[in-house]
């Protein structure tokens, strides 16, 4: 192996799946081989079987749907506010000076620590779940978009001025299109984090959702169901990430993403 030397596409695929196979193999060996009690860890086959019964008998698809809608709802609300605010902060240093200190502080407030307060304010309904995702995402997006928009190439801004652009034109026709691909990449990253907040939100006071199912399974000591639930979250996260990436590639063919 040579440092920084790329490998072929086939080699990448083989190596990438290879680790999955190895991982599941070791898991199967540990559980089927009797090294780990089923009480603590179900075998891959048992987890799959548990998943099948979850899907066919216990309406797990509904739980998945609920979780997806909470993540997307909270995330889209956050993005709808944070992206314009971040663009304004990046473009106008006065706006940045006004909001930045507070947002830098707020982004370190852990969204999960707000859950008890949010339950007090909004009850245990959907509003509370969306609020957790919203709080966890909004400040992160603002900060990232601010940095991206603030780093717009000055020579492009100057070129636009010499072509007759006014201040509004600079924002609309230079800063926003220049920032767009990186803003979308930032959103992709934050969406990944949002998946981790939603489960925490669903562990407490939820009647549905993947997190709720995992809590229920714990009561029944069904590690197969718990593991299946966790794997489903990982898979959905992976699929949304791939779709997002595809979308960005298609939207920003001018950039080399």
């Amino acid at each position: 192996m040579e440092p920084l030397k790329p490998v072929t596409a086939t080699a990448r695929l083989l190596l990438g799946t290879g680790f999955f196979v190895l991982f599941v193999g070791l898991w199967a060996l540990a559980t089927e081989g009797g090294y780990v009690q089923p009480l603590f860890l179900a075998s891959p086959a048992r987890a799959l079987a548990a998943g099948w019964s979850l899907l066919t008998e216990y309406g797990f698809l509904h739980d998945i749907g609920m979780t997806v809608w909470r993540v997307l709802g909270g995330f889209l609300l956050a993005a709808a506010i944070a992206v314009p605010l971040g663009l304004m902060m990046g473009a106008y240093k006065g706006v940045e000076a006004f909001f930045e200190p507070f947002i830098s502080f707020a982004r370190y407030l852990p969204a999960s620590a707000f859950i008890p307060l949010l339950i007090l304010w909004a009850g245990v309904g959907e509003a509370q779940k969306l609020a957790v995702i919203f709080l966890g995402s909004v400040f992160q997006i603002v900060i990232m978009v601010t940095v991206i928009a603030g780093a717009t190439r000055m020579d492009l801004v100057e070129a636009a001025y010499t072509l007759g652009a006014g201040r509004g034109g600079i924002l609309r026709r230079v800063i926003i299109p220049a920032a767009a691909p990186q803003v979308m990449e930032a959103l992709r990253l934050v969406l990944g984090w949002a998946w981790t907040y939603v489960i925490v939100a669903e562990l407490i006071g939820a009647q549905s959702g993947i997190g709720h199912m995992i809590m229920d399974s714990q009561r029944l000591l069904d590690t197969g169901q718990m593991i299946f639930g966790i794997v489903v979250i990982g898979l959905i996260g992976l699929v949304t990430d791939l779709l997002f990436r595809q979308l960005n590639r298609r939207l920003f063919r001018w950039a080399v993403l």
Partner: protein, 264 residues
């Protein structure tokens, strides 16, 4: 008063940290008549870009003034088109959309704007590349597009800041000829006023009807050399004896300044 008129133009950059302020431009006077092609030649760091940026309205002078056709310059505007040394095409716009940028900003009707863009695409030899993105273009093509983009706005003056400085030698010579062709395509009375900044003597002489030599920092115009070679010019002019004589004279002027700049 038609043309460009610069009076007592001075620029001092405030010092950063312990460094004192930098006097980049000494009080400079300059008059350029409409349709004139003027090269500004000087060693690196002598304030050429500073001068051009103030004319463009991208920088403000510490003292003095710039007047274009009787109006004082205070900010950038489409009446002063600029091409930079760095590649400044908007990467998210195609060649054609880049050229349309200024026309759209000035709300020129769509059909008319496209006609203007097509004309400059043809003039700068970009046919067939209208729908390419900048990242798909060579450096020479990017600068041709930048030139077309500036010209499409029909500016009163064209400000070129070492536009071919990043190109290889052969491409650069082709670009010089192309620039003269595009500029000379108009009748002498309709030609654009051009301020062309360079540190390349050949380039300065080949293009301009007048070469201004700037001193080492702090910059000022220390010599003015008219170039009596008739337009249209092609590359063969570079082998003419008059060309050699002008070069020798400018080289003497410049060497002195480069030495000063190197020792400063």
């Amino acid at each position: 008063m038609r043309g460009l008129s610069i009076r007592g133009l001075t620029r001092t950059f405030p010092g950063q940290g312990s460094a004192g302020p930098t006097l980049a431009l000494q009080p400079t006077d300059l008059d350029v008549t409409p349709g004139e092609f003027v090269s500004i030649l000087g060693p690196s760091g002598c304030g050429k870009s500073t001068l051009l940026r103030i004319v463009a309205g991208l920088d403000r002078p510490t003292a003095g003034s710039v007047t274009l056709n009787g109006r004082q310059v205070t900010r950038p505007g489409p009446d002063r088109g600029m091409v930079f040394q760095s590649y400044t095409l908007f990467p998210w716009l195609t060649v054609e959309q880049n050229i349309l940028f200024g026309l759209r900003e000035r709300q020129v009707p769509q059909a008319q704007a496209r006609e203007i863009a097509a004309a400059y695409i043809a003039r700068t030899g970009l046919r067939g590349f209208e729908h390419h993105w900048p990242r798909q273009l060579s450096g020479g093509m990017q600068q041709r597009t930048a030139l077309a983009r500036a010209l499409a706005n029909s500016p009163e003056i064209l400000l070129l800041d070492e536009p071919f400085g990043a190109l290889d030698h052969q491409t650069r010579e082709l670009m010089q000829e192309l620039l003269l062709e595009v500029w000379g395509a108009d009748t002498p009375a309709a030609r654009k006023t051009v301020l062309f900044v360079t540190h390349d003597i050949d380039e300065a002489v080949f293009l301009a009807s007048r070469v201004l030599v700037m001193s080492a920092r702090p910059g000022r115009v220390k010599a003015e050399v008219p170039v009596p070679l008739p337009y249209p010019r092609d590359w063969k002019v570079k082998t003419a004896p008059e060309f050699g004589a002008l070069k020798a004279r400018l080289m003497a002027e410049i060497r002195e300044e480069v030495r000063k700049a190197a020792l400063a």
